[in-house]
Amino acid sequence: MIKNILLFLFLFVSISFAQGINYFSIESHKKFGNYLFESGDFIRANQEYREFLSKQENDTIRIRYAETLFRIERFTEAADYFKSAFYNSSFEDEARLGYFKSLFFAGLYDDFKKDLEINEYISPLYKNNIMKLNTMTYYLEKNPLPDSTEILSYFEDESRIKMSEFYLRKDIPLRKNRTKAALFSALIPGSGKVYLGEYGDGITAFIATGLLTYLAVDNFNANHKLRGAVFSGLAFLSYVGNIYGTALAAEKFNIGIKVNLDKEIRFYFKENNYFLPEIKY
């Protein structure tokens, strides 16, 4: 009898230990996934969590899985998973914020605004962050900006000042008129460039066109017809090229205003982590 009990004990201990070190069990996927998540290897954490979720449901793992999708920039899938944790989850608020941030980073601004109208989608805890994201969509879109009073109301102090500055620069950009710049250069070579603020280029164009014209006249006077013709051609090219160059520079200037502002805005948002809170799941 004792022998049998002991034998049973031996078998039980052996089997239980053998099962305890299965690296591909549900629990192991979870543990290993958490380790990968903590160490920032989101792509592998995602794989482990997927394995886990295929066999078992868990609020934390679901939200972490959505977060890994977000971190590996699979934003639309992340949005779907965050949405699936909107109800009956311990992370309902985080899921709502995660959903909106996923739509934001996916560039689905229309969906973002549409879902913002559904009150129950907005987490009271993170409402401010979601509304800030909403404001940022206006800054990143090509459409005209809405009234500033409401969209800026979610920002405080320094960030509000900066956002107001961006608002003004986006709403009323300091553009230069292309035709006006070209006409200036036609009247006085280089003056169009000066109008665009390119003083060095303007002065150089003025001197180059002037000198080439002088050389053409001087060579014709000295009876060097070939050289006179060459310098006349060069003077003409310089004159026409300067007018054309001024028109292009004006266009470049206007594009530059838009592109630089866009870069500045994006850099500011990134620098401030899109005003998103650090959440530990």
Partner: protein, 280 residues
């Protein structure tokens, strides 16, 4: 008596079984990861080595997994991650020899990602370390490679010669250095004879254009002075003659640099495809 022995066996089995099972599971996991690594499935290999590392509580495979993960990341071109894991391997090495090997792996990745100054600093550190006096050849070998990747073929050949006068890499480096064009010679010859710097690098059309432009604008400049149209001469001389003269030697310099890049790339390609020794 038999009962006591039986009881002892049971107790021993209970104590040892987890360790034995853990060992065999770890070994199976290692083999699984190795198979993935050897079949070139680097992404999955990294996952499985990381899994092995995570469940290997005693750190038995710590060094090995760090090295393998580093190699896999390196194979996938993720050099920064590779350095992180090789550096981890250096920390987890159980003896000086393994530590040296891990350090060399860090250096090799630095050579590949062209952070050559880092590689030199790490090599200097190893060179100064008395424990590795017997591995000076390896240090010189990787220093030579570092110089190759810095495009310093002559220095590389000198370093390889420290290992062996007739080291194949010393010969290749020396030959590559010989095949390269002298930037200074191209510039000086262009100062004296415009267009000849371009001829030196085999760009004959460009050389002829330089001779033509510098000659024509030079003539116009001189002619203006001869005809006492001094302002004319100064303007043509400054705006045209000097522009073409300067363009001539700058062009020669540029062509030489481009040709030298071609020579270096050819040698590097040759090393990549035909050299049988260890490469970074």
């Amino acid at each position: 008596m038999r009962k006591v022995i039986f009881l002892l066996i049971i107790i021993m089995a209970s104590i040892l079984s987890p360790a034995v099972f853990a060992q065999s599971e770890l070994k199976i996991q290692k083999e699984y990861a190795d198979n993935l690594f050897n079949s070139g499935q680097l992404f999955d290999a990294i996952t499985e080595y990381k899994r092995l590392q995570f469940f290997d509580i005693e750190g038995q495979y710590g060094y090995y997994t760090n090295i393998q993960i580093g190699e896999a990341y390196k194979g996938g071109g993720r050099f920064d991650d590779a350095v992180t894991y090789f550096a981890n391997a250096e920390r987890t090495a159980s003896n000086d020899s393994l530590r040296f090997d891990a350090a060399i792996n860090v250096i090799r990745v630095n050579i590949l990602r062209r952070t050559n100054d880092n590689a030199h600093q790490l090599l200097d550190k190893l060179e100064k370390d008395m424990r590795y006096n017997d591995r000076m050849n390896e240090i010189n070998y990787w220093r030579g490679w570092n110089y190759i990747f810095e495009d310093k073929w002559l220095v590389a050949s000198i370093v390889f010669e420290k290992i062996d006068k007739n080291h194949p890499l010393a010969l290749i480096s020396k030959q590559t250095d010989k095949n390269k064009y002298s930037v200074n010679f191209a510039k000086v010859i262009s100062y004296i004879l415009p267009g000849f710097g371009q001829f030196y690098t085999g760009n004959y059309l460009s050389g002829l254009m330089s001779i033509g432009w510098v000659g024509l604008t030079g003539y116009w400049t001189l002619n203006s002075f001869v005809e006492e149209r001094v302002f004319d001469g100064l303007v043509v001389g400054n705006l045209l003659f000097l522009r073409f003269y300067r363009g001539n030697y700058q062009n020669a310099e540029q062509f030489t640099i481009e040709k030298n890049i071609e020579v270096s790339n050819k040698s590097l390609k040759n090393l990549q495809n035909n050299y049988q020794g260890i490469k970074p």
